[in-house]
Amino acid sequence: MTTPVSTNAGGQREPVLRMEEISKSFAGVPVLHDVRLEVKRSEVHALTGENGAGKSTLMKILAGIHQKDEGRIYLNGKPVDIRSPREAIRFGISMIHQELYPVRDMTVCQNIFLGREPYSRFTRVVDRRKEREETRRLFEEMDIAVDPDQKMGNLSVAEMQMVEIAKAVSCSSSIIIMDEPTSAITGKEVAKLFETISGLKAKGIAVIYISHKIEEIFTICDSISVLRDGRYIETRHAREFDRDSLVSRMVGREIKDLFPKSKAERGLVTLEVEGLTQNGVFDNISFKAHKGEVLGLSGLMGAGRSEVVETIFGFRGSDGGTIRVNGKEIVMKSPADAIRHGIALITDDRKTKGLNLTASVRDNITLVNLKAFSRFGQLIRLKKENETADDEIKKFRIKARDRYQSVGTLSGGTQQKVVLSKWLLNDPEIILLDEPTRGIDVGAKAEIYGIISHLAETGKTIVMVSSELPEILGLCDRVIVLYHGRISEELERKDFNQERIIKAAMGNPDGATSLNKN
């Protein structure tokens, strides 16, 4: 494979990183085959591809977490051998992982200097003052508004990420790898992250950016490399791609329409929420959702969107307000109540709220509905259960070895399909979706969008929380925007306007019309 690498517009600078013919197998399964990557100084380089394309593995090899089977790595033209994360850091390579694991009970500055604490020269104890001062200086320089003495566990995800980046800078990294840095942050925080990335570029640092969000890649990245099925496809300047050509390179086929919008008729009101309040979280939330409608809940992280749907589902208590299903007022004391009334909640976090990762595909799929598979309410009819599980695996194209494979060993997109199957099995009337496509690849996303549209067409009521604006704009018939726990905007599809939604999510800062429908 000798796809020509387009020459960088910046000139003939020696690339800070060159990886050549990298191959890697796990237990005999090839994951990377002859992959190469070239990254220049001061560039933001997107590494794209579907889940399972090998992006993370390639980056983990670079960060010293995995060892390559074959291939060469050059830093500034010199061949290097990276055998551990510690060595990688010494070589100036830092990785900001998708899920951060700081020591939550230590302070911010202790985390930054973890493993390389400055010692006082005479007493040989950790020099706390130096730690604090260095951190403060670093934060000032990078414009990070975090108290160095704060406990790490008290920070938001976005703040933790900033601290991690600051740590990478303080290790004098020349390459910083960011794996899905925006998967858990929104709006302003993303803007702040991009600002920080620009700052890193200005320092001459190369950033390798892994993301499933195409818009982001085009906003922030200079060049784009595409991997597919563990093989290198191509590298180009970002402006030589457009959205469609990039997606088709990633999946190896054309994706005509990512958002197959249903043409369902808007039917009767099935879910009516009035004055729903949870003190300190959200306040006086009222809306109606109809049969055949996809209603979007937009807003920044922490605006209270997830909390609203979790309260409707009976997973959280409320401090006031009413919930009506098909015109009947219902007090949701627990998820069991909601399930009984035909409501499903596809939660935002597969790993913590959605699935039992140690259990099999079958056990997860039938969990909500187990009673329907039981004689006398207790004895499970295994044959019927197995048949149903196999049907679901086929229907949702769940890529599993068989129904007994444990869910924890599946890819993110496949796991999400298991979650969908689990909740759609008892044919709920009202489906609450919380970030249904977070952290999954383009191909699986398209499939899930197809499923959502199909559900609306068949007369289901759908309420979807999403941080991804394209998703809201593409799928929803109506959108409600939350800001600080209140509804700040409500728009019909014909009035959809990206800018208006973003402004409403930030509380209409320039005093635009704010509306609170009853």
């Binding site: 191959s23 090839p30 699935l355 039992n356 909500v368 207790q378 004895l379």
Partner: protein, 340 residues
Amino acid sequence: METSTDELNATGDDAAAALSSADRRADKLRSAARFFSKYGIYFALILLVSVLAVISPPFFTAANLIDILRQISVIGILAVGQTVVIITAGIDLSVGSILALSAVMAASFAHPGQYPLIVPLIVGLGAGLVCGALNGFLIAKSKLAPFIVTLGMMTAARGMALVYTSGRPVFNLSNAYDTIGTGYLAGIPLPVVIFVMVILGGIFLLHYTRFGRYVYAVGGNELAAKVSGINTEKILIYVYILQGVLAGVAGVVLSSRVMSASPALGEGYELDAIAAAVIGGTSLMGGVGTITGTVVGALIIGVMNNGLDMLNVSSYWQQIVKGAIIVLAVLLDKKSKGKS
């Protein structure tokens, strides 16, 4: 790993074919690894029995093998309950003490000519049930750590057994009561029959009932179970009640076998029960474990004790071997799971 990459290079012009053959081989490898991680413990038991059969002929006789089953029956009954508890990501340290309390209470109602046999049985199992329910309520409702709650119960139940008996063993039990521990059914000791019934009940409960499925769900991910509409508190309470009742059963079996009930009965049994479950592949993290695995774990402990006895190895050394086996079993389990 090496070979598959070599193969890829060797047949470079027909990479697709090589890939699929490497794929197939890797598939075989992985399914072999899965097979081993699933059944490795069974092989270990077979190996252990074979070795002992060869080096010590009297070991491999029907009488001795039945003896082993009788020896492990009490620990085994506790271990079945412990498995269910550990699958919920819990632990029950109080089973040894509950066993003693149940035993002394049951025995005190089992003097000859006093009450019909059913009375001491109800008292013994009832005592276990009450202790288990208390454990369950505190763990499920007060959200206290199972380790702490059952540590407290372990101390308190032992204390209650001592108070109830003023520290003296209960003697002079009726023949009917003693038969439970010393009788036979079709040549098989009754404790073994009871153990087998508990095993079958446990397998049925865990794998064929909704309750069993929920036990795994709660242990694998309590939050996800809650979101799925499962009353996780109820499940936890029932699980500890089950364990309490089984400790009661074990108390009756043990006291009737030794024909007396000492308040010191069953000391340290909770750790043997945990060891059997863990050797059998039950994960302390929850969500993973089987009754059959635990039974094999208990058999490994029993066979090893018995075999070493026959080889005249001192019981001091036996403890060292047992300790090593516990750690080794979990280590092997972890290794084989990590690879697949």
